[in-house]
């Protein structure tokens, strides 16, 4: 009895993707499939291309002059570089959180509703509901619900980063890209954000670039190790960190790098 499921493309599919800054090749023929509702960590030494790969998923590299690529990245089966794709629309599907938290110099409320306002949605009830939902999703609601209209800059670092996460998920994107989101935070703030990633992944797919291997072991389901623009190993996190298959992976994670 054949019970084949209809083919569902992986949520993000990187297909033999190479990326160039001018003449310099930064990513070499990367192929990997990201799984839906999982946290995938990209690890590797500095300059290995993990941030570049991340930023290609929402085409943030477009404005850098002289870039070009080969191969493809597809989201839900549609190529990002399809001529019909409107970049702005892509960025509404794929949210991003940056290394240094960057809330706008506005109130907390206005920060979160920013993505809705630029989409033209200004109804008060929708905005209020989004603010509550996003702040709860970012584990920040209880701490700021009384000061929604105060400046975002009055919050602590960890709170500001969580605000940026709330802002990034306000429009309920499918995918959340996080570029070393905890690099500027203290350990407790870091753990709080890792905790909320556990909840977020129920609705989103998260791709996180991290330098912190303990963080990768704690929160990711799958890990990809990149080195010098090449994908060296990609697999389940537990396996990568206890029994990696590739010698280079083992060397990196144990600290036996030359």
């Amino acid at each position: 009895m054949n019970d084949t499921k209809p083919y569902e493309p992986p949520i993000i599919q990187v297909d033999d993707f190479s990326f160039f800054y001018g003449d310099k090749q930064v990513l070499h023929n990367i192929s990997m499939d990201f799984e839906e509702n999982k946290v995938t960590a990209l690890i590797g030494p500095s300059g290995c291309g993990k941030s570049t790969l991340l930023r290609n998923i929402n085409r943030m590299n477009d404005l850098v002059p002289g870039v070009h690529h080969q191969g493809d990245i597809r989201i839900d089966g549609t190529s990002l570089y399809d001529p019909k794709v409107e970049v702005i629309s892509l960025r509404k599907r794929v949210g991003m959180v940056f290394q240094k938290y960057n809330p706008f110099p506005k109130s907390i409320y206005e920060n979160i509703v920013f993505p809705l306002r630029v989409a033209g949605r200004n109804s008060r009830s929708e905005l209020d509901e989004t603010v509550e939902r996003s702040l709860k999703g970012a584990a920040l609601w209880d701490e700021v619900k009384d000061k929604l209209h105060q400046s975002a800059y009055g919050l602590s670092g960890g709170q500001q980063q969580r605000l940026c996460i709330a802002r990034a998920i306000a429009n309920r994107p499918q995918i959340l890209l996080m570029d070393e989101p905890c690099a500027a935070l203290d350990p407790i703030a870091t753990l709080k954000i890792e905790d909320l990633m556990e909840d977020l992944k129920k609705d989103l797919t998260i791709v996180i670039v991290t330098h912190n291997m303990q963080q990768a072991t704690r929160i990711s389901d799958k890990t990809a190790f990149l080195y010098l623009g090449n994908l060296i190993e990609y697999g389940d996190t537990a396996q990568i960190f206890t029994n990696p298959k590739e010698e280079q992976t083992e060397a990196y994670i144990t600290g036996r790098f030359s």
């Binding site: 019909k84 794709v85 702005i88 991003m96 110099p105």
Partner: protein
């Protein structure tokens, strides 16, 4: 030996470890640091001191404009002198003289109070029946019992400073001039009881009052200097007139103006009759009778000319004081004639006006009542000085030519001598800022016309037209410059590709370095003539270019995304520029002309709805001049707006572009990642954060526009008018200073007023910059910009 006796050894003092050499700072570094600190602090202070120094200098030059008059009585010398006669005062104010008994003039020596009599005799033993004193000319017009009139000139022997005159060696001189009969026949008519004299250059006028039986008759006699090739000829009588029939009542006071064409008569009925001389008919015609000059039955006690003889000061028996001036008034039949009308009123004195003396270099005058003395200025109706409670009642008051000193004699004969120090009587807050009713105008106005052709010219120094002109120029410049510069800055910082930006920014710097003289020159000689007939084209461009650009942009958004993705990331200008250029060219060369006449007709049609549609013309300038009744000049504010725009745009552009580019890229990345389009990012994030810098840029551009001199000087008509009309000129404070300061006498009122204009400019930019800095700091704090 007890152990306790042994003194305990001192512990060696703690020696800190020697500092390794690499932690030490070299003396040179420390000294350099100290010197530079002091230099920099000194530099900062010097700047502050310099700025305040300029401020204090300007204040020092301009504050005298607001000083009050200083009138001091010289109490050391108050001689008691005879009262039987008419006192006169020489130019220096140091040698008063008394016209006594019709036979001598006694000069007062100020050291000892003695009188030096200088007698004079009249030919044919004639006796003086009437005389008056003309302090401006320093002479006594006299009338004799033979029915003749003449002049007795007085030279005090001192020059203007009170030193002995070189010519006369310090001796006073009295000279009796030629006597002329008042009537054509030479026969006396009655007894001359009063006279007045006017010196109109080549023409001299005598007006005499004759007591003939029970009537008082008025006669006018004019003399003119005949010209000969060899020398100035003698005075020849040229006219004999009688005005008696035209006067209702007995004349009590007569005035003749220094132009020789006007006579004012005050009658015992308290009426004022004005006669003007008609050159063509060679007659004196009654032009006007003023009844109830004070608005009630108050009697007239004083009626005298104000310097310039275009206005007279009227003093009443109840203390009222007002000025009447000659200006064009519309008659019932629609014609306009110059007649006298009340133009100024003073605070009444508490007693009848008894005496009046005026200056012969400006419009200052002094009036007295039995208990008061008041020094006033005619143009501004300003009281310069007051003595509200005199401790004597003056019976005679006389002043010198410039009214820098005057005498008041009380009933006991004591001569009170006063010196007057009022260097800038024509200035003051009212003159500089208020609406003044100048002579010859039909209403109070704000006017700037500081110099005129004649010595008695009434200087109009209201700064309001200049301030208005500055604001107008700035306004039109900014209306053009601000939108262009700001939009250009927004485009350059966030929409332009980097390769093009590299070219554009240096180009703007070049635009900033164009000297304003060159710009003014270009504007005046090239642009203004070109634009004269292109105004409809420009209006069309101003409407069509934005409209078509918006339309085309909208059209572009409806195109499929493949097209748009091909040309994106700042290259859109490739598509837009041809469209704009084509529209501009079409408007400039064709559309302007095609549209001109139909629009004029359309406006005519609209205006005829309320009945003003009948005006000549088919072109825009004609529409403006004839249809709207507004001036249209070639060198107008539109040209200035463009050219000043050239000067101001680079300033605003550079600073705002800097501010817009310095928004933290992390915030722009964040908004990009949230799916905002470029314009949304600019509108919601970039502009609020850059608002401090943009505001700064606007203020600096404003400051630049306010102070711009050469462009306005060259590209406008430089007329000091107060009119928002864009097709009209203006005169700004800065252009005014540039034009007039080279010719202003140092220390004069004119000079100081120009500096006041400079002070206003200085303060304006100072205040603007301060506000700009405060607002900028606030905005910085609000948006947490570094």
């Amino acid at each position: 030996m007890n152990q306790d006796d042994i003194p305990t050894q001192e512990q060696p003092a703690y020696q800190p470890k020697p500092v390794p050499k690499r932690f030490l700072v070299s003396k040179a570094t420390l000294w350099c640091d100290r010197i530079m600190t002091k230099l920099i602090i000194g530099g900062g202070f010097t700047v502050i001191v310099a700025v305040f120094g300029i401020l204090f200098f300007l204040l020092a030059v301009t504050l005298p404009l607001f000083k009050e008059a200083e009138v001091l009585e010289d109490v050391k010398t108050s001689p008691v002198v005879p009262t039987d006669g008419s006192w006169g005062l020489d130019a220096s104010g140091k040698r008063p003289y008394l016209f006594r008994h019709g036979k001598e003039i006694d000069f007062l020596n100020q050291e000892d109070g003695t009188l030096t009599p200088v007698p004079f005799t009249l030919p044919d033993n004639e006796q003086i029946t009437a005389y008056t004193y003309h302090s401006g000319l320093g002479l006594y017009p006299i009338a004799t019992d033979a029915g003749k009139v003449g002049l007795i000139t007085v030279k005090s022997g001192l020059n203007g400073h009170g030193d002995p005159d070189v010519e006369t060696g310090g001796k006073p001189e009295v000279k009796v001039g030629e006597l002329y009969p008042v009537t054509e026949s030479g026969e006396p008519i009655g007894k001359i009881i009063g006279l007045t004299y006017a010196d109109a250059g080549d023409k001299k006028v005598f007006v005499t009052l004759h007591q003939d039986a029970d009537k008082v008759r008025t006669f006018v006699m004019s003399l003119e200097q005949s010209r000969s090739l060899v020398s100035d000829g003698e005075l020849e009588p040229t006219g004999y007139f009688e005005l008696s029939e035209q006067i209702d009542g007995k004349p009590s006071k007569i005035l003749a103006n220094m132009a020789g064409d006007g006579i004012v008569v005050v009658t015992d009925k308290n009426e004022i009759v004005y006669f003007a001389f008609d050159e063509n008919t060679e007659t004196w015609n009654k032009k006007q009778t003023i009844k109830q000059a004070f608005g009630n039955d108050e009697g007239i006690s004083v009626c005298e000319w104000l310097f310039g003889d275009m206005s007279f000061v009227l003093g009443g028996k109840n203390g009222s004081l007002s000025i009447f001036s000659l200006y064009p008034q519309t008659q019932a039949d629609g014609t306009t004639t110059r007649l006298f009308g009340k133009t100024k009123e003073f605070e009444p004195l508490n007693g009848p006006i008894t005496h009046y003396i005026s200056s012969y270099i400006n419009r200052s005058f002094l009036v007295t009542s039995p208990t008061q003395m008041k020094l006033c200025y005619g143009t501004t109706a300003d009281t310069r000085w007051e003595e509200p409670k005199l401790n004597f009642s003056p019976i005679q008051v006389v002043g010198n030519h410039e009214l820098t000193s005057f005498l008041a004699q009380d009933a006991e004969g004591k001569l009170h001598r006063y010196s007057v120090d009022d260097k800038h009587p024509e200035s003051g807050t009212k003159a500089l800022v208020g609406k003044i009713w100048y002579e010859g105008y039909d209403a109070p106005k704000w006017m700037w016309q500081s110099v005129g052709g004649t010595d008695d010219y009434e200087s109009k120094i209201s700064l309001m037209p200049l301030i208005f002109g500055t604001l107008k120029g700035t306004f039109y410049a900014l209306i053009f410059a601000v939108p262009v510069a700001l939009l250009a800055a927004v485009y350059t910082s966030h929409f332009m590709p980097a390769s093009v930006k590299k070219v554009v920014k240096p180009l703007m710097e070049i635009m900033a370095s164009l000297p304003s003289v060159v710009l003014g020159f270009f504007g005046a000689l090239y642009l203004a003539p070109k634009m004269e007939d292109k105004v409809p084209a420009i209006i069309m461009m101003a409407i069509l270019i934005p409209a078509v650009a918006i339309l085309f942009a909208w059209f572009w958004t409806t195109r499929p995304i493949e097209w748009r993705n091909k040309i994106s990331h700042g290259l859109e200008y490739i598509v837009m520029i041809p469209v704009i250029l084509i529209i501009a060219w079409v408007c400039w060369c064709y559309l302007g002309y095609w549209v001109e006449e139909p629009i004029v007709d359309m406006v005519r049609g609209v205006m005829s709805l309320w009945g003003s549609g009948d005006f000549q013309g088919t072109t825009f300038p004609e529409l403006w001049r004839n249809g709207f009744d507004m001036a249209y000049e070639q060198r107008n504010s539109l040209v200035v707006g463009f050219i000043m725009g050239f000067a101001v745009i680079p300033v605003i552009f550079t600073i705002s572009e800097d501010a817009l580019s310095n928004v933290p890229p992390s915030l722009i990345a964040a908004s990009e990642a949230l799916g905002a389009s470029r314009w949304q990012i600019v509108k919601t994030i970039v502009i609020p954060i850059a608002s401090a810098g943009i505001f700064s840029a606007l203020m600096i551009g404003l400051g630049r526009a306010v102070g711009e001199t050469m462009i306005v000087l060259m590209a406008t008509g430089n007329t000091p008018i107060m009119d928002w009309n864009i097709f009209n000129g203006m005169r700004t404070l800065s252009a005014n200073i540039a034009t007039e300061l080279p010719e202003a006498a140092q220390g004069s009122t004119h000079y100081r007023v120009l500096f006041l204009g400079g002070l206003i400019l200085f303060s304006l930019t100072f205040v603007l910059n301060t506000i700009a800095e405060i607002v900028r700091q606030r905005l910085r704090k609000r948006y947490h910009i570094v």
